[in-house]
Amino acid sequence: MSETRTPLLTVDNLVQHFPISRSYTVKAVNGVSFHIYPGETYGLVGESGSGKTTIGRSIIRLYNPTSGTVTFNGKTISGKMDSETRNMLRENMQMIFQDPMASLNPRKKVADIIGEGLDIHHRATSRQDRADQISEMLKKVGLSPEHAARYPHQFSGGQRQRVGIARALIMHPKLVIADECISALDVSIQAQVVNLMKDIQEETGCAYLFIAHDLSMVKYISDRIGVLHLGYLVEAGTKEEIFSHPIHPYTKSLLSAIPHPNPEVEKRRKSVTYDYRSSGIDYAKGTEHVVEGTHTVLATDEEFNRWAKE
């Protein structure tokens, strides 16, 4: 990890609150900072309600961040954007959604779903050019150009997710936010989609923000990982750092809970439980401590010393 590279995306102290009523606010994300370099895959893991999806949606501006700055491609994209920045954001950052059934318009043909970005940003020079770009994209994601005239319901789940990927990639984005994009798929299909994403990354050099709760998949695909809990980034680092030297008790419990496809080991292993309320840890008091290299933990000084010894 050379420090000379400029990050593609920098998220600095992102806060996202949702006021529900005058007296009650859901604090989904509480000051999260991380950055993504061009061409790398950053994995965000955490349980449901930890704010990982919210972070993805705040970055791409489906939500307006409460505070904090997000810098993408050299421009600040949190707060008010001029139309030029907005266009840059819309063209260079794309999202693949979780549910391939719900995220494709059932009344549009696949060609129009994939081509929508081209139409809006006037990327196609002629009708023929548009059709060519679409069929090339379909081929890239492992579908055939004839599929362009079909509707989403005529595809299986794995194929639909490929359409979702094609839609995201046709703009040649620099960053793709993949929000649980494989969790709705069967195991055998998951592998196909993950391989496809890796191939495309190699070919186009795009970066991924990979949001998932399946840790073994996250470990497989990501270069660096951030562990989220209750809206705080409790631990971050390269995947080797996180998986071989977890420091934070939450990370430890998360890692111990991964089921191994190895019956003899599974029968002997007990998972480590972690309960925030009874653990006596207050995330709000913690500050970022560097373990080594890029490995950081959210902790108070006292906690950090204790955990580092364990």
Partner: protein, 361 residues
């Protein structure tokens, strides 16, 4: 396994099809399965492989367009007067099934705790419901038992939670309530249909450990329906791998994980990365599962099988015996078949797994 325990559920040659607008879907094509007292069987397969339909047939919950073409589901139990009885669940009238078997002797935990609880009833009432109906308990006794069950499944301050509605609980807590309901009438068999798919890994581990603990305490027989092999490794004694309405490989859990014989099982095992996988590409099973609207001739898996032989196109392989408990339906096991090794990634994986085991011994 030691001395052969008593078989309590015996599914023989089950064959079910569904009448749909598009035609007849032959969803279950001759399934055999048995479950012994106190054991755990896991049924693994992709969506559409028929694992849920098999269990729905057992529970008598098949949709109205389902036709049972053949087969029987024999359930052996001790009735109220202490006699051992065997019935065919498929032949019982619906009413009899509802009154005496569903929920009472065979209970089910569904996939999604969000939708399987009644949002308009307090959880206490929902746990009590089964006891009031099936066991003719009076309310006070049912309440005491309900509180006991809620404690048993690890809900702290059950007294307070008793009056809560489902939306006031988290997903993991809700699934615990569903388990408490399933256990409320002391069933013999607990069927768990993807009990943890909707939950996070940390909660998943806790729920699975809970079910295992309860199983030991209450001498339950458990059937898991899942596609997560990690879950299977943790809980199962025996594994049935299902593909396109058939069981393609059966064996005890060690045989399936350390010595799989069917190419589909190879694919499933290698498609799931373990924590040490660092191959450039994941092994994936090409293509997608067959549409059973057009029933394939020969082996249903042949089209996706890189090891397919010519005969796979013509005839469906029978189950070949590998060991006393291990069977696989693939022509590769025929004495005349060419010798085929499992993919190198998987060999490496299994070697790694076995090394890891040594650390624990």
């Amino acid at each position: 396994m030691s001395e052969t325990p008593k078989t309590i559920l015996d599914i023989r040659n089950l064959d079910i099809s569904f009448k749909t607008n598009a035609g007849v879907v032959h969803a279950i094509r001759g399934v055999n399965l048995d479950l012994c007292k106190g054991e755990t069987v896991a049924i693994v397969g992709e969506s559409g492989s028929g694992k849920s339909v098999t269990m729905k047939a057992t529970m008598g919950l098949l949709d109205s367009n389902a036709v049972v073409n053949s087969g029987e589901i024999l359930y052996t139990y001790t009735d109220d007067s202490g006699n051992e009885k065997t019935v065919d669940l498929l032949k019982l009238p619906k009413k009899e099934l509802r009154q005496n078997f569903n929920g009472k002797r065979i209970a089910m935990v569904f996939q999604d705790p969000m939708t399987s609880l009644d949002p308009t009833m307090t959880i206490g009432k929902q746990v009590m419901e089964g006891m009031l109906l099936h066991k003719n308990m009076d309310k006070a006794a049912a309440k005491a038992r309900a509180l006991e069950l809620l404690n048993l499944v690890g809900i702290t301050d059950a007294e307070k939670r008793f009056k809560n509605y489902p939306h006031q609980l988290s997903g993991g807590m809700r699934q615990r309530v569903v388990i408490a309901i399933a256990l409320s009438s002391d069933p013999d068999i607990l069927i768990c249909d993807e009990p943890t798919t909707a939950l996070d890994v940390t909660i998943q581990a806790r729920i699975l450990e809970l079910i295992m603990e309860l199983q030991k305490k209450m001498k339950l027989s458990v059937i898991y329906i899942t596609h997560d092999l990690g879950v299977v490794a943790k809980v199962a004694d025996y594994v049935d791998v299902m593909y396109a309405g058939k069981i393609v490989e059966v064996g005890n859990v060690n045989e399936i994980f350390y010595d799989p014989k069917h190419p589909y099982t190879w694919g499933l095992l290698s498609a799931m990365p373990d924590l040490d996988t660092d191959d450039a590409r994941l092994y994936s099973i090409p293509g997608s599962p067959p549409n059973l609207l057009h029933e394939p001739t020969g082996d249903a898996f042949a089209a996706r099988n890189q090891f397919a032989l010519a005969i796979d196109e013509k005839a469906d392989p029978p189950l070949f015996q590998v060991s006393r408990t291990h069977f696989a339906a693939t022509w590769l096991l025929h004495p005349d078949a060419p010798k085929v090794e499992m993919p190198p990634e998987l060999i490496a994986r299994i070697a790694r797994a076995q090394k890891e085991v040594e650390k624990y011994l």
